[in-house]
């Protein structure tokens, strides 16, 4: 089937992660002749979404292949429910009882019922939100790629305060409506938020002049905010810790505030069917403009040579075929080691967990879509980001929720995250119909991911390395890696320390 694959391209992109896919779309859009391939049989690489069956295959693959464990390790899956649920098998009630009865009587899930409904799951390897006015939303709109995807608004932002979940008032309306904050506090908060919105780096106005070396918490305290307000702003809005530098906190808050009020009550959007859809949308645009797609196509060897006039030619051996191109754009996980510059980058790996539960972490009239940011519960911990998505997002069958936990690794995923999960889930297994305060955890997956999000330069001219997913809440790092902010209007893949190896650069 691959035999009629052409061999000569201007740009070959290897790997279908977020960064690679944005570059592929950009190159194709300017009518470069693009081949985009991936070694696995699906799109997205470490940014992919899997249905339940696909996820099982992924787990098996990682556990049986030491090479894969360089990227993903400490992978452990656990069930909290029975293999079969016999009483459910012989009843033909699936279709009819949906609307009235099953609302009250909780369905009893089994491993078998997960397997039957495997297609209804879309579980993300790299779950991420979009800021409503962030660079990805702007890019999706301006490039028309937005038409390939649908989004849902995050309906609420929660925090963990005084040993319980608390909603964070994040819009102006919320601030005024909430009873958790007194009138005096409201005024204080609004004043402070207004000065944060006014912050801008170039002018560096007087307000933040003396705060460069201090923490954000000190600033909030200086502003006379009460402990409750400090908690909301520092942990929930800025997503920081006590040590967060002031200006970083201000920037994070500003990003949050600027994205309010565009699409919903919170600043965030979640892609329907999971984050793994988004790289695919960029791939579609690439294809619409003539990009050729090939999955299941590992590369064996990459060689570069300089032909006259300083032009590069890169040859790639793949499945006994030799492919030629002027530019090779390659995901860091697919890139042969010898092409990477050896300077090691300090990085902190990522701890991740996915839970499937039988209810939301906090009851709500309508199906919620939740962002929860845990402040560190123990000394030395990092903040933990929690995303809870339900059936309306296409992430799971009715009656279930998928909950993602992400933090920077301290020890290993399970040690880092289980104490947090236990606060909001009942992880004891047992009777699912039992009325419990917390939702029952039915299934869990812990894993660590190597952080490959730092820019890495390549040693060969014409080869551009794309970095992997980061632990951040949004896609901004991936987008900004390809495209810096105006006015430079540069489209670049990487820069290296020896100056600036702009590789793909805009005309304007």
């Amino acid at each position: 089937m691959d035999d009629d694959l052409p061999t000569d391209f201007q740009v070959i992109v290897v790997g279908t992660g977020m960064v690679e896919s944005i570059v592929a779309a950009a190159c194709s859009r300017i009518r470069k002749n693009v081949l985009h391939m991936d070694s696995s049989d699906h799109y997205g690489g470490l940014w992919a979404s899997y249905n339940f069956d696909g996820l099982q295959k992924f787990i098996k693959e990682v556990n049986s292949d030491p090479k894969k464990q360089v990227q993903v390790y400490n992978l452990s899956e656990k069930w909290y429910i029975e293999k079969e649920s016999p009483e459910l098998e012989n009843k033909d009630e699936e279709n009819k009882t949906d609307d009235s009865k099953s609302e009250q009587v909780k369905k009893v899930w089994s491993q078998a019922s997960f397997a039957t409904e495997y297609r209804k799951f879309n579980i993300d390897m790299t779950p991420k939100l979009l800021f409503s006015r962030g660079p990805l939303v702007e890019l999706l709109i301006s490039s028309n790629i937005a038409r390939y995807a649908e989004f849902r608004c995050v309906t609420r932002v929660l925090t963990w305060l005084d040993d319980r979940l608390m909603p964070v008032p994040c819009s102006r309306a919320d601030v005024f409506a909430t009873e958790a904050v007194s009138i005096v506090e409201k005024r204080m908060l609004m004043k402070m938020l207004t000065s944060i919105v006014g912050y801008n780096e170039e002018e560096m106005n007087n307000e933040f002049k003396d705060w460069e070396s201090k923490t954000f918490k000190e600033y909030l305290e200086h502003k006379g905010l009460t402990p409750n307000l400090i908690h909301y702003v520092l942990y929930a809005i800025a997503g920081g810790t006590n040590a967060m530098p002031c200006l970083e906190g201000v920037k994070e808050c500003k990003k949050f505030l600027m994205s309010l009020g565009r699409y919903g009550n919170t600043p965030f959007l979640w892609p329907m069917y999971g984050s793994g859809e988004l790289p695919q949308c960029f791939c579609r645009l690439c294809a619409v403009f003539g990009g050729v797609y090939c999955l299941n196509r590992p590369i064996d060897k990459v060689a570069t040579k300089t032909i006259d006039e300083g032009k590069n030619m890169i040859t790639i051996d793949s499945k006994s075929k030799t492919l030629n191109c002027e530019h090779l754009v390659i995901g860091i996980n697919e890139c042969p080691k010898e092409l990477l510059s050896t300077e090691s980058v300090e990085s902190c790996d990522i701890s991740k967990a996915v839970f499937i539960t039988n209810g939301s972490i906090m009851k709500s009239d309508k199906e919620p879509l939740t962002l929860l940011r845990f402040p560190p519960l123990a000394e030395g911990d990092n903040t933990v980001t929690v995303l809870e998505v339900g059936p309306a997002t296409g992430s799971c069958p009715k009656g279930l929720f998928v909950v993602y936990f992400i933090t920077n690794k301290v020890k290993d995923a399970e040690t880092d995250l289980k104490p947090y999960a236990e606060r909001i889930f009942d992880m004891s297994g047992g009777d699912q119909t039992e009325a419990t305060e917390k939702p029952k955890c039915l299934w869990s997956l812990f894993c660590n991911l190597k952080d490959t999000s730092a820019p890495v330069a390549s040693v060969a001219a014409g080869v551009h390395v794309c970095s992997g997913p980061d632990a951040g809440l949004d896609f901004d790092r991936a987008v900004l890696q390809v495209h810096s902010t105006p006015p430079q209007r540069l489209l670049y893949v990487q820069s290296d320390s020896s100056g600036y190896s702009v590789t793909l650069c805009s005309a304007t």
Partner: protein, 210 residues
């Protein structure tokens, strides 16, 4: 601004390369045929609004963008589709055999209740025919899918096919609405530059290679 249609159906075209998906799309949306189509570049989807029993139905018909060539259609392509045209070429045995694979692909990725129809295209090329009409019919019966032979070139049955598919989707929708109390609105967003009319050209289209 008032909506100019009553409902919107997202339809897909699926099938091997070169069976004439894009030609069918052009015939239906623009009543045009161009023999020199090489492969699909720059075509995302086409729109035609039809009248179905007094209702204005906007059909948004998506093309594969060439991603069928090496079986790399994105899962995102299938999302939200309500009807799928499975197209093979009656002069190409292989494309007919592959219909089964495409059906499997649809079962894996599209919604379970998506309406399907099989089209045997290029039926004007009778001298080169490799797949008889009977075999097409047989396959359709096997999967309980409607079937028709078409010619985008001679404008044969293309209208009929889309109208039939659209009518089936409409009937299914109405049946569903009767059966269940109105389901919650989808509530999902399509992103648009809503606050201002400004639409800068994307930087994606402005990059250049050094």
């Amino acid at each position: 601004m008032a909506k100019t249609y009553d409902c919107l159906f997202k339809l897909l075209l699926i099938g091997d390369s070169g069976v004439g998906k894009t030609s069918i799309l052009f015939r239906f949306s623009e009543d045009a045929f161009n023999i020199s189509f090489i492969s699909t570049i720059g075509i995302d989807f086409k729109i035609r609004t039809i009248d179905l029993d007094g209702k204005k139905v906007k059909l948004q018909i998506w093309d594969t963008a060439g991603q069928e060539r090496f079986r790399t259609i994105t899962t995102a392509y299938y999302r939200g589709s309500m009807g799928i045209m499975l197209v093979y070429d009656v002069t190409n045995e292989k494309s007919f055999e592959n219909i089964k694979n495409w059906i499997r692909n649809i079962e894996e990725n599209a919604s379970a209740d998506v309406e399907k129809m099989i089209l045997g295209n290029k039926c004007d090329l009778d001298s080169k025919r490799q797949v008889s009409k009977e075999r097409g019919e047989q396959l359709a019966i096997e999967y309980q899918i409607k079937f028709v032979e078409t010619s985008a070139k001679d404008s044969l049955n293309v209208e009929y096919a889309f109208f039939t598919l659209a009518r089936d989707i409409k009937a299914k929708m109405e049946k569903k609405q009767e059966a269940s109390n109105p389901t919650r609105g989808s509530g999902a967003h399509q992103l648009r530059a809503n606050e201002q009319q400004r639409r800068p050209t994307s930087w994606l289209s402005r990059c250049s290679l050094l």
